[in-house]
């Protein structure tokens, strides 16, 4: 029901998830992460516990590949799950259960993983991956630029409804407080959610003092 990118930005020391879907409030379910720990996207017939338990495994120092293994090995419904993980040092892994609704699949590279299901085809995840490699701007902007390429490639074959981007910074870099969330923006239900999300990200970057409080 969804396509997403999870990534690590070594230059900024940030972890992020960007996601779009033909389901409402995708930002409430899919993105999980913690500064200095890693990030997880859990989707398809998703189990939110994959987010919490995936982060737990990352906190124990597991690699992205090991986290995918730990979550799926004892899950009788893993064939319906889809998962992307990037760990503390940026290693990435992606998992697509054999029973996810077609087209479903993922790609991963150095410090990023892209995955989706009920997509127009494999070209959607390939477009997201290619666009991420070429995108410019802040980490959040590049994540959303990558999503937009997926949207342009046909995205979720049922249509559009919601999108979100969430970025975590290393908590040690934040003097203001302990909180590690650098940015978290959502479009919960709109005609063109990824376009709206891009506008929101630009607004948040232009006027950081107006964000959130």
């Amino acid at each position: 029901m969804t396509y997403s990118i999870v990534a690590f930005d070594a230059a900024a020391t940030q972890w992020g998830v960007a996601v779009a879907s033909k389901a409402m409030c995708v930002g409430a379910h899919v993105p999980w992460g913690a500064g200095g720990i890693g990030a997880v996207a859990t989707q398809a017939y998703h189990d939110l516990r994959y987010g919490a338990e995936g982060l737990g495994a990352l906190r124990r120092g597991r690699t992205a590949e090991e986290v995918v293994g730990e979550l799926t090995v004892d899950d009788p419904e893993s064939v319906f799950r889809q998962l992307g993980v990037v760990d503390a040092s940026g290693r990435a892994a992606t998992f697509t259960g054999a029973q996810c609704t077609p087209w479903a699949g993922g790609r991963h590279g150095d410090s990023w993983a892209v995955q989706g299901n009920i997509l127009a085809g494999p070209h959607v995840v390939e477009a997201v991956a290619a666009a991420y490699g070429e995108a410019i701007g802040t980490f959040a902007e590049r994540l959303v630029t990558a999503l937009l390429a997926g949207d342009a490639a046909g995205g979720d074959r049922r249509g559009r409804q919601s999108a979100a981007v969430k970025v975590w910074a290393s908590p040690l870099d934040r003097e203001r407080e302990r909180l590690d969330v650098e940015l978290f923006l959502r479009i919960d239900d709109a005609e063109l959610p990824v376009h709206d999300l891009q506008r929101l990200v630009r607004q948040a970057i232009a006027e950081p003092d107006r964000l959130g409080s």
């Binding site: 409030c25 939110l48 969330v181 978290f184 959502r186």
Partner: protein
């Protein structure tokens, strides 16, 4: 300007926060909570660490008043903060720093507290407190009504931009694993409270179970009509070995109505949507 409510619903054992603000993406900062722990709203010059730290204190057994005291007590900028906490037992406590922008203040009642800053006057929080109706069946609607009352009382005089509504209830999440029952955000909108109400309606459509009293038995003439509609929208039962339930479940899963789908029965709300799609599909 920001106004919010924190509340506890003893009937459903849910904790909630609803908030509206002139800032961007207020849902990013203000609402915090957990089932059987409590809920927190941190605003004005919001100290975001009040969220996770406050939940840690509540989890450790402090009540709302002690949690507020502890958070504010160690904060050098406490006079610019506004904070509301409701604990696991539904007791609330507030802090409104003396240096928050006028008008600022809070009110509390049984199982809820309302607070705001940069408001038109005390009548905004008074209207919110008066609108909180424990008799209204659904907790989410009750929280929304409170925001609407704040807006109507002049809470939107300087313009609102964002709003959010969060409810935590044990096992309420999609798939049942976690406590995130409702989590709705309007990050940037000309009329965010109205938009939040629209999202809440959609939330009911996608995530609430149908009223068992209204379910229609999926047999006889109705079954034939449903089969024809599924055929029209590209989910013919013939592709599922003639199993109507299987074809319907496939369509309903792809359209995100799985919470409203049970074998042998038909939710009239979902049926109306399928009929609409079938009509659309039949148009040249």
């Amino acid at each position: 300007m920001t106004f919010s409510i924190v509340a506890f619903d003893p009937v459903s054992r849910s904790w909630g926060v609803a908030v509206a603000s002139k800032c961007l993406a207020v849902g990013f900062a203000v609402p915090w909570g957990g089932a059987d722990i409590g809920a927190i709203a941190t605003q004005a010059l919001a100290n975001l660490s009040y969220g996770p730290d406050g939940l840690d204190l509540l989890r450790g057994g402090l009540d709302a008043a002690a949690t507020v005291e502890r958070l504010v007590g160690v904060d050098p900028l406490a006079d610019q903060r506004q904070l509301a906490v409701i604990d696991a037992d539904g007791r609330s406590a507030n802090h409104t720093g003396a240096a928050c922008m006028d008008w600022k203040g809070h009110r509390s009642g049984e199982h809820f507290a309302v607070q705001g800053n940069l408001l038109d006057g005390p009548h905004v929080v008074d209207a919110m407190a008066a609108a909180y109706d424990p008799g209204q069946a659904h907790f989410g609607r009750r929280l929304l009504a409170c925001l609407q009352a704040g807006e109507a009382a002049g809470g939107d005089r300087r313009g609102l931009e964002s709003a959010a509504l969060s409810i935590w209830q044990e096992g309420a999440a999609y798939g049942g694993g976690l406590d995130i029952g409702t989590d709705l955000r309007v990050d940037d909108h000309a009329t965010p409270v109205t938009e939040l109400g629209r999202l809440l309606d959609l939330h009911f459509l996608y995530f609430e179970r149908p009223d068992p009293q209204t379910l229609l038995p999926l047999d006889g003439a109705l079954a034939a009509e449903v089969a024809a509609a599924l055929d029209a929208v590209g989910y013919p039962p013939s592709e599922h070995g003639g199993e109507l339930d299987a074809a319907f479940a496939q369509w309903s899963g792809v359209n995100n109505y799985e919470e409203r789908t049970q074998p042998g029965q038909l939710d009239p709300i979902v049926w109306a949507i399928l009929q609409g799609q079938a009509v659309d599909a039949g148009r040249p």
